[in-house]
Protein backbone atom coordinates (compact mmCIF):
# COMPACT_ATOMS: atom_id res chain seq x y z
CA UNK A 1 0.00 0.00 0.00
CA UNK A 2 1.05 3.58 -0.53
CA UNK A 3 -0.29 7.05 -0.06
CA UNK A 4 0.34 10.25 -2.04
CA UNK A 5 1.01 13.20 0.27
CA UNK A 6 2.25 16.55 -1.04
CA UNK A 7 3.66 14.88 -4.12
CA UNK A 8 5.65 12.21 -2.31
CA UNK A 9 4.75 8.55 -1.99
CA UNK A 10 4.44 7.22 1.54
CA UNK A 11 4.77 3.46 1.92
CA UNK A 12 2.28 1.61 4.13
CA UNK A 13 2.09 -1.97 5.32
CA UNK A 14 -0.88 -4.20 4.47
CA UNK A 15 -2.89 -2.73 7.35
CA UNK A 16 -2.11 0.88 6.52
CA UNK A 17 0.62 1.55 9.10
CA UNK A 18 3.66 3.51 7.96
CA UNK A 19 6.62 1.36 6.93
CA UNK A 20 9.13 4.10 7.75
CA UNK A 21 8.10 5.68 11.05
CA UNK A 22 10.50 8.57 10.58
CA UNK A 23 8.72 9.67 7.40
CA UNK A 24 5.70 10.88 9.41
CA UNK A 25 4.45 14.46 9.11
CA UNK A 26 1.19 16.05 10.33
CA UNK A 27 0.02 16.13 6.68
CA UNK A 28 0.42 12.36 6.55
CA UNK A 29 -1.79 12.00 9.62
CA UNK A 30 -4.44 14.12 7.94
CA UNK A 31 -4.21 12.02 4.78
CA UNK A 32 -4.36 8.72 6.68
CA UNK A 33 -7.45 9.94 8.51
CA UNK A 34 -9.06 11.18 5.29
CA UNK A 35 -8.69 7.65 3.86
CA UNK A 36 -11.03 6.52 6.63
CA UNK A 37 -13.33 9.55 6.20
CA UNK A 38 -12.15 11.12 9.45
CA UNK A 39 -11.47 14.82 9.77
CA UNK A 40 -8.94 15.42 12.54
CA UNK A 41 -10.11 17.77 15.28
CA UNK A 42 -8.15 19.47 18.03
CA UNK A 43 -9.12 16.55 20.29
CA UNK A 44 -7.75 13.98 17.82
CA UNK A 45 -4.49 15.89 17.63
CA UNK A 46 -4.12 15.90 21.42
CA UNK A 47 -4.11 12.10 21.37
CA UNK A 48 -1.92 11.83 18.26
CA UNK A 49 0.66 14.20 19.71
CA UNK A 50 0.53 12.39 23.02
CA UNK A 51 1.18 9.06 21.27
CA UNK A 52 4.14 10.48 19.39
CA UNK A 53 5.67 11.74 22.62
CA UNK A 54 5.04 8.39 24.27
CA UNK A 55 6.76 6.57 21.42
CA UNK A 56 9.68 8.98 21.49
CA UNK A 57 10.18 8.27 25.19
CA UNK A 58 9.54 4.52 25.34
CA UNK A 59 9.93 3.28 21.74
CA UNK A 60 6.67 1.36 21.94
CA UNK A 61 3.05 2.00 21.02
CA UNK A 62 1.15 1.72 24.32
CA UNK A 63 -1.61 -0.82 24.89
CA UNK A 64 -5.09 0.73 25.09
CA UNK A 65 -5.25 0.27 28.85
CA UNK A 66 -1.92 2.04 29.28
CA UNK A 67 -2.89 4.78 26.83
CA UNK A 68 -6.16 5.40 28.66
CA UNK A 69 -4.48 5.69 32.03
CA UNK A 70 -1.72 7.93 30.69
CA UNK A 71 -4.13 10.23 28.83
CA UNK A 72 -6.14 10.63 32.04
CA UNK A 73 -3.03 11.68 33.87
CA UNK A 74 -1.87 14.08 31.17
CA UNK A 75 -5.06 15.50 29.67
CA UNK A 76 -7.51 15.10 32.54
CA UNK A 77 -9.81 12.42 33.92
CA UNK A 78 -12.67 13.35 31.55
CA UNK A 79 -10.46 12.21 28.65
CA UNK A 80 -8.79 9.26 30.32
CA UNK A 81 -11.61 6.81 29.72
CA UNK A 82 -12.35 4.44 26.89
CA UNK A 83 -15.73 6.02 26.11
CA UNK A 84 -14.06 9.32 25.22
CA UNK A 85 -11.23 7.68 23.30
CA UNK A 86 -13.60 5.44 21.32
CA UNK A 87 -15.75 8.46 20.46
CA UNK A 88 -12.69 9.96 18.78
CA UNK A 89 -11.32 6.72 17.33
CA UNK A 90 -14.22 4.30 16.79
CA UNK A 91 -11.95 1.65 15.23
CA UNK A 92 -10.09 1.42 18.54
CA UNK A 93 -7.87 4.13 20.04
CA UNK A 94 -4.86 1.81 19.97
CA UNK A 95 -5.07 0.82 16.35
CA UNK A 96 -6.55 3.90 14.74
CA UNK A 97 -4.77 6.63 16.67
CA UNK A 98 -1.41 4.84 16.42
CA UNK A 99 -1.87 4.56 12.68
CA UNK A 100 -2.48 8.29 12.27
CA UNK A 101 0.42 9.04 14.60
CA UNK A 102 2.74 7.00 12.39
CA UNK A 103 3.41 4.43 15.12
CA UNK A 104 3.47 0.67 14.69
CA UNK A 105 0.41 -1.30 15.70
CA UNK A 106 0.41 -1.63 19.50
CA UNK A 107 2.04 -4.81 20.73
CA UNK A 108 -0.64 -7.31 21.66
CA UNK A 109 -3.24 -5.85 19.31
CA UNK A 110 -4.68 -8.34 16.83
CA UNK B 1 50.88 -15.99 9.23
CA UNK B 2 48.92 -13.71 11.47
CA UNK B 3 45.28 -14.53 11.87
CA UNK B 4 42.33 -12.37 12.85
CA UNK B 5 39.96 -14.20 15.17
CA UNK B 6 36.46 -12.76 15.28
CA UNK B 7 34.28 -13.67 18.26
CA UNK B 8 30.60 -12.73 18.53
CA UNK B 9 29.33 -14.77 21.48
CA UNK B 10 29.33 -13.64 25.10
CA UNK B 11 32.08 -15.47 27.04
CA UNK B 12 29.58 -15.91 29.88
CA UNK B 13 27.14 -17.81 27.74
CA UNK B 14 29.17 -20.00 25.38
CA UNK B 15 32.69 -21.29 25.34
CA UNK B 16 33.47 -20.08 21.79
CA UNK B 17 35.40 -17.05 23.11
CA UNK B 18 37.41 -19.18 25.54
CA UNK B 19 38.10 -21.77 22.88
CA UNK B 20 39.31 -18.98 20.58
CA UNK B 21 41.73 -17.73 23.23
CA UNK B 22 42.98 -21.28 23.77
CA UNK B 23 43.71 -21.72 20.08
CA UNK B 24 44.98 -18.32 18.95
CA UNK B 25 48.73 -18.03 18.40
CA UNK B 26 51.17 -15.35 19.50
CA UNK B 27 50.99 -12.38 17.14
CA UNK B 28 47.37 -13.02 16.22
CA UNK B 29 44.57 -10.49 16.63
CA UNK B 30 41.28 -11.04 18.37
CA UNK B 31 38.24 -8.87 17.65
CA UNK B 32 35.15 -8.86 19.87
CA UNK B 33 31.91 -7.98 18.08
CA UNK B 34 28.19 -8.26 18.86
CA UNK B 35 27.55 -10.02 22.21
CA UNK B 36 31.27 -10.80 22.61
CA UNK B 37 31.85 -7.08 23.26
CA UNK B 38 30.88 -7.63 26.89
CA UNK B 39 34.17 -9.54 27.27
CA UNK B 40 36.14 -6.30 26.90
CA UNK B 41 35.16 -4.98 30.34
CA UNK B 42 37.38 -5.02 33.44
CA UNK B 43 36.55 -6.78 36.70
CA UNK B 44 34.49 -9.52 35.09
CA UNK B 45 34.86 -13.25 35.70
CA UNK B 46 36.42 -13.49 32.21
CA UNK B 47 38.76 -10.48 32.31
CA UNK B 48 41.80 -12.45 33.46
CA UNK B 49 41.67 -14.59 30.32
CA UNK B 50 41.60 -11.54 28.07
CA UNK B 51 44.43 -9.95 30.04
CA UNK B 52 46.48 -13.12 29.58
CA UNK B 53 45.83 -13.04 25.83
CA UNK B 54 47.12 -9.46 25.70
CA UNK B 55 50.60 -10.73 26.66
CA UNK B 56 51.34 -11.85 23.10
CA UNK B 57 48.25 -10.97 21.05
CA UNK B 58 46.36 -7.85 20.02
CA UNK B 59 42.80 -7.57 21.25
CA UNK B 60 40.14 -5.27 19.79
CA UNK B 61 36.49 -4.50 20.44
CA UNK B 62 33.93 -2.95 18.09
CA UNK B 63 32.90 0.34 19.72
CA UNK B 64 29.30 0.38 18.47
CA UNK B 65 28.59 -2.96 20.11
CA UNK B 66 29.97 -1.76 23.46
CA UNK B 67 27.84 1.39 23.38
CA UNK B 68 24.71 -0.53 22.41
CA UNK B 69 25.02 -2.54 25.61
CA UNK B 70 25.47 0.54 27.79
CA UNK B 71 29.17 -0.15 28.40
CA UNK B 72 31.40 2.91 28.25
CA UNK B 73 34.89 2.80 26.79
CA UNK B 74 36.52 3.88 30.06
CA UNK B 75 35.64 0.45 31.47
CA UNK B 76 37.53 -1.65 28.97
CA UNK B 77 40.53 -3.71 29.96
CA UNK B 78 43.75 -1.77 29.61
CA UNK B 79 45.44 -2.79 26.37
CA UNK B 80 42.23 -3.64 24.53
CA UNK B 81 41.73 -1.25 21.62
CA UNK B 82 38.41 -0.02 20.25
CA UNK B 83 37.74 -0.05 16.52
CA UNK B 84 34.86 1.16 14.38
CA UNK B 85 33.63 -0.57 11.23
CA UNK B 86 36.44 0.95 9.16
CA UNK B 87 38.92 -0.41 11.72
CA UNK B 88 37.23 -3.80 11.44
CA UNK B 89 37.85 -3.74 7.69
CA UNK B 90 41.47 -2.70 8.22
CA UNK B 91 41.98 -5.68 10.53
CA UNK B 92 40.65 -8.12 7.97
CA UNK B 93 43.00 -6.62 5.39
CA UNK B 94 46.10 -6.55 7.57
CA UNK B 95 45.77 -10.20 8.60
CA UNK B 96 46.41 -12.98 6.11
CA UNK B 97 43.52 -15.05 7.34
CA UNK B 98 40.36 -14.60 9.33
CA UNK B 99 38.57 -17.08 11.51
CA UNK B 100 35.07 -16.54 12.88
CA UNK B 101 34.32 -18.35 16.14
CA UNK B 102 30.56 -18.80 15.86
Amino acid sequence: MALEVNGSTIEQDEEGYLVDLSSWTPDIATALAAEEDVELSEEHWDIINFLREYYEEYQIAPAVRVLTKAVGKRLGKDKGNSKYLYSLFPYGPGKQACKYAGLPKPTGCV
Amino acid sequence: MAMLHIVNKSPFERNAFESCLNHASAGDSILMIEDAAVGAITKTAFAAKVEAALQDKSVYVLSGDLAARGLSEDRIISGVETVDYAGFVDLTVSNETTQSWL
Binding site: E57, Y58, Q59, I60, P62, A63, R65, V66, K69, A70, T107, G108 | N8, K9, S10, F12, E13, E34, D35, A36, V38, I41, T42, K43, T44, A45, A47, L62, S63, G64, D65, A67, A68, R69, G70, L71, S72, R75, D84
Partner: protein
Amino acid sequence: MATKKFMFVNRKAPYGTVYAIESLEVVLISAAFDQDVSLAFIDDGVYQITKGQDTTGIGQKNFSKAYKALGDYDINKLYVEKESLEERGLTLDDLMELTWEDEDDDYAEKPSIHLVDRAAMSGIMADQEVVISF
Protein backbone atom coordinates in the same frame (compact mmCIF):
# COMPACT_ATOMS: atom_id res chain seq x y z
CA MET C 1 -9.62 -16.27 34.01
CA ALA C 2 -7.75 -17.27 37.09
CA THR C 3 -4.63 -15.30 37.80
CA LYS C 4 -1.41 -17.26 37.64
CA LYS C 5 2.11 -16.40 38.64
CA PHE C 6 4.05 -15.94 35.40
CA MET C 7 7.79 -15.44 35.29
CA PHE C 8 9.79 -14.50 32.24
CA VAL C 9 13.44 -15.44 32.61
CA ASN C 10 15.92 -13.37 30.59
CA ARG C 11 19.35 -14.88 30.06
CA LYS C 12 20.73 -13.26 26.89
CA ALA C 13 22.44 -9.96 26.09
CA PRO C 14 20.43 -7.64 23.83
CA TYR C 15 21.09 -6.99 20.10
CA GLY C 16 23.39 -9.96 19.36
CA THR C 17 20.38 -12.26 19.19
CA VAL C 18 16.63 -11.61 19.08
CA TYR C 19 15.84 -13.27 22.42
CA ALA C 20 15.78 -10.05 24.48
CA ILE C 21 13.41 -8.10 22.24
CA GLU C 22 11.20 -11.15 21.67
CA SER C 23 10.93 -11.64 25.43
CA LEU C 24 10.01 -7.98 25.89
CA GLU C 25 7.25 -8.27 23.28
CA VAL C 26 5.78 -11.32 24.99
CA VAL C 27 5.99 -9.57 28.37
CA LEU C 28 4.08 -6.55 27.01
CA ILE C 29 1.45 -8.83 25.48
CA SER C 30 1.12 -10.81 28.71
CA ALA C 31 0.16 -7.61 30.52
CA ALA C 32 -3.11 -7.62 28.59
CA PHE C 33 -4.16 -10.86 30.31
CA ASP C 34 -4.13 -9.57 33.89
CA GLN C 35 -1.70 -12.11 35.23
CA ASP C 36 0.78 -11.83 38.06
CA VAL C 37 3.87 -11.18 35.95
CA SER C 38 7.45 -10.99 37.14
CA LEU C 39 10.74 -10.83 35.24
CA ALA C 40 14.06 -12.42 36.12
CA PHE C 41 17.37 -11.11 34.80
CA ILE C 42 20.11 -13.67 35.22
CA ASP C 43 23.36 -14.44 33.39
CA ASP C 44 23.80 -12.17 30.34
CA GLY C 45 20.17 -11.05 30.71
CA VAL C 46 21.40 -8.31 33.06
CA TYR C 47 22.84 -6.47 30.03
CA GLN C 48 19.29 -5.88 28.77
CA ILE C 49 18.66 -3.22 31.41
CA THR C 50 22.00 -1.40 31.59
CA LYS C 51 21.71 2.38 31.46
CA GLY C 52 23.05 4.55 28.66
CA GLN C 53 22.55 2.11 25.79
CA ASP C 54 23.36 3.78 22.48
CA THR C 55 22.66 1.74 19.36
CA THR C 56 23.49 4.37 16.74
CA GLY C 57 26.71 2.52 15.95
CA ILE C 58 25.01 -0.78 15.14
CA GLY C 59 21.93 0.48 13.31
CA GLN C 60 19.40 -1.28 15.54
CA LYS C 61 16.48 0.16 17.47
CA ASN C 62 17.35 0.97 21.09
CA PHE C 63 14.54 -0.91 22.79
CA SER C 64 15.95 -0.44 26.29
CA LYS C 65 13.66 2.57 26.73
CA ALA C 66 10.65 0.26 26.62
CA TYR C 67 11.60 -1.27 29.98
CA LYS C 68 10.78 2.12 31.50
CA ALA C 69 7.18 1.65 30.36
CA LEU C 70 6.78 -1.65 32.22
CA GLY C 71 5.55 0.20 35.31
CA ASP C 72 2.63 1.59 33.24
CA TYR C 73 1.80 -2.01 32.35
CA ASP C 74 1.68 -2.93 36.06
CA ILE C 75 4.80 -5.04 35.68
CA ASN C 76 6.88 -4.02 38.66
CA LYS C 77 8.65 -7.14 39.88
CA LEU C 78 12.00 -7.21 38.10
CA TYR C 79 14.37 -9.55 39.91
CA VAL C 80 18.05 -9.08 39.13
CA GLU C 81 20.55 -11.67 40.27
CA LYS C 82 23.44 -10.26 42.32
CA GLU C 83 25.97 -12.91 41.29
CA SER C 84 25.22 -12.39 37.59
CA LEU C 85 25.99 -8.67 37.96
CA GLU C 86 29.19 -9.33 39.92
CA GLU C 87 30.53 -11.88 37.42
CA ARG C 88 30.17 -9.18 34.76
CA GLY C 89 31.81 -6.37 36.72
CA LEU C 90 28.47 -4.57 37.07
CA THR C 91 26.56 -3.11 40.01
CA LEU C 92 23.01 -1.86 40.52
CA ASP C 93 24.31 1.62 39.58
CA ASP C 94 24.96 0.38 36.04
CA LEU C 95 21.28 -0.44 35.54
CA MET C 96 18.47 1.89 34.49
CA GLU C 97 16.28 3.28 37.23
CA LEU C 98 13.03 1.45 36.64
CA THR C 99 10.07 2.51 38.74
CA TRP C 100 6.31 2.22 39.01
CA GLU C 101 3.63 4.42 40.51
CA ASP C 102 1.67 2.96 43.39
CA GLU C 103 -1.93 4.13 42.94
CA ASP C 104 -2.77 2.95 46.43
CA ASP C 105 -0.03 5.08 47.93
CA ASP C 106 -0.75 8.50 46.39
CA TYR C 107 1.11 7.55 43.18
CA ALA C 108 4.41 7.25 44.99
CA GLU C 109 7.27 6.20 42.68
CA LYS C 110 8.71 2.90 43.82
CA PRO C 111 11.62 0.90 42.45
CA SER C 112 10.73 -2.06 40.22
CA ILE C 113 14.18 -3.63 40.36
CA HIS C 114 14.85 -6.03 43.21
CA LEU C 115 18.38 -7.26 43.69
CA VAL C 116 18.37 -10.86 44.91
CA ASP C 117 21.06 -13.47 45.38
CA ARG C 118 21.12 -16.76 43.53
CA ALA C 119 19.50 -18.72 46.35
CA ALA C 120 16.65 -16.21 46.62
CA MET C 121 16.21 -16.23 42.83
CA SER C 122 15.88 -19.97 42.84
CA GLY C 123 13.24 -19.67 45.56
CA ILE C 124 11.28 -17.09 43.56
CA MET C 125 11.41 -19.35 40.49
CA ALA C 126 10.21 -22.32 42.49
CA ASP C 127 7.22 -20.26 43.55
CA GLN C 128 5.95 -19.68 39.97
CA GLU C 129 3.14 -21.46 38.17
CA VAL C 130 4.37 -20.67 34.66
CA VAL C 131 8.01 -19.97 33.78
CA ILE C 132 9.00 -18.92 30.27
CA SER C 133 12.70 -18.69 29.58
CA PHE C 134 14.42 -16.69 26.87
